[in-house]
């Protein structure tokens, strides 16, 4: 009995050291805090495909933990054992919105930020038959009558974008929260609402097919897939907002492993195969290193806090 105990203790002491030397020696779980088949899920699977090139022996498993606007997944990443075998994806603004609304059992420093990979800029869209052609028209109309604008849920990137836009331009929308972007799309295409704040990837196909009109993209520069759509800044309203999708690990992982993961993401971000795949999948890249992404998240949290204080949800 005693021998067994000793052996167990020896193994317990020995294994972590050993594990570190050969990391990764067992499958790495990537927690995706959204539904299977969504764009975050697809990003994770494309990342794995590219990562295998650099870590040929490593195995990755995607675990979709959807629900509560990503909250369940974010919490699971923060709670995970910091041994490098569980990492996860986060997306904005939800990751900070939950902290701001005091629902999260985590804070930004519960994570080691590996870096950012993807983004999806916000857009302003109107129905095909709408007389509104640009932001000036929109603001003029909104000042004259109450306009209904759809956002995907409260505290989402759409919501924060709409609030930012209201603040910049002094208009006030009759905000309609929806469940998911599908509802937003159906309402824009069916002309049930006057405008919608949503992500570029969600409506670019409909814009190309002429079924809806994107009147502004809330980014610093125009998008390559829709070069005819002006940015908000070009139209005189410097509102910029994007949804980022990055990678994190639970705080407290060892420096060696953290460095390895950081390095892997940077390599994948530059990988030509990965770039080709994301272009095909209409996903937009926004490579950021860990420190850059952390600074970005902190700034976003402060901004979201401001909106929450004005109008809590």
């Amino acid at each position: 009995m005693r021998k067994i105990l000793l052996l167990a203790m020896a193994m317990a002491l020995f294994f972590p050291l050993n594990a570190m030397a050969a990391y990764p020696e067992k499958p790495i779980t990537i927690i995706v805090p959204s539904k299977a088949g969504g764009s975050t899920d697809t990003s994770a699977r494309l990342f794995i495909k590219a990562a295998k090139k650099y870590w040929p022996k490593a195995e990755f498993v995607v675990k979709d933990v959807s629900g509560s606007g990503g909250l369940k997944g974010f919490e699971e990443i923060a709670r995970a054992k910091p041994d490098g075998y569980t990492i996860g994806m986060v997306f904005t603004t939800q990751i900070v919105a939950h902290i701001v609304s005091k629902r999260a059992h985590y804070a930004l420093d519960s994570f080691h930020i590996i870096g950012n990979a993807m983004q999806d800029p916000l857009i302003v869209a109107v129905p095909e038959k709408s007389p509104i052609k640009n932001l000036d028209d929109l603001i003029k109309t909104a000042k004259a009558k109450s306009m209904t604008a759809a956002v995907n849920g409260i505290g989402s990137d759409d919501f924060v974008a709409a609030k930012k836009f209201e603040q910049q331009t002094g208009v006030k929308f009759n905000l309609l929260p929806t469940k998911g972007s599908t509802e937003q799309k159906a309402m824009i295409l069916g002309g049930h609402i006057d405008a919608s704040f949503m992500n570029l990837s969600q409506l670019q196909a409909q814009h190309k097919a002429g079924k809806a009109r994107i009147i502004a993209i809330l980014a610093d520069k125009r998008s390559e897939i829709l070069p005819d759509v002006k940015t908000a800044a070009e139209q005189g309203y410097p509102v910029s907002m994007t949804a980022t999708r990055g990678f994190v690990a639970p705080a407290g992982i060892s420096k060696d492993i953290a460095a390895k993961l950081d390095d892997l993401l940077q390599k994948v971000n530059k990988d030509p195969g990965f770039i080709a795949d994301t272009d095909k999948g209409v996903l937009f890249r926004l490579p950021m290193t860990g420190p850059e992404y952390l600074a970005y998240l902190k700034k976003l949290q402060a901004e979201t806090q401001k909106f929450y204080d004005q109008n809590p949800w």
Partner: protein
């Protein structure tokens, strides 16, 4: 407990629930007092009304003196019924500490014996077969993540 008493108890419970629900809508934000709060108020009011009606009907219906009151019979075989329920509760509670495979390898044979299975070979083969099936189809092929233990 007779079925009538159980019904009255349940209905009173629902009535209390309806009242609480109705009253809770006062604390909804001002912006939704006309929309979602209204909806919830309607649910509370309708449920309360229906429960009151049914309560009146149940209490008014006089008991037939010829028939003895109908017994509330939850389980035909109480030992197996509650035994299985208890096993299920333990099983679910143990999932998050012991992990899926270990708890299942205990749960399957124990519940089989509880329910009257006596052939050791059948029990072992069925339990093993089910777990192998789960491993290959769920874990390997479909990459479903099974409950993991925190102990290991």
């Amino acid at each position: 407990m007779s079925r009538r008493v159980a019904e009255v108890l349940l209905l009173s419970g629902f009535l209390v629930l309806a009242v609480l629900l109705f009253r809770s809508t006062a604390s909804y934000p001002e912006s939704v007092q006309g929309s979602t709060a209204m909806y919830v108020r309607f649910l509370g009011a309708a449920l309360g009304l229906l429960c009151t009606l049914e309560l009146i009907f149940t209490l008014k219906k006089r008991r037939d003196d010829d028939n003895p009151p109908e017994k509330m019979n939850i389980a035909v075989n109480p030992v197996r019924f509650w035994g299985l329920f208890l096993l299920l509760v333990i099983y679910c509670a143990a999932l998050s500490t012991l992990g899926f495979y270990l708890t299942s390898i205990l749960f399957l044979p124990v519940s089989m014996v509880l329910l009257g299975a006596r052939k050791p070979l059948t029990i072992v083969l069925t339990s093993g077969g089910v777990l192998l099936f789960v491993y290959f189809i769920f874990a390997r092929l479909l990459e479903v993540s099974l409950p993991m233990g925190t102990l290991f």
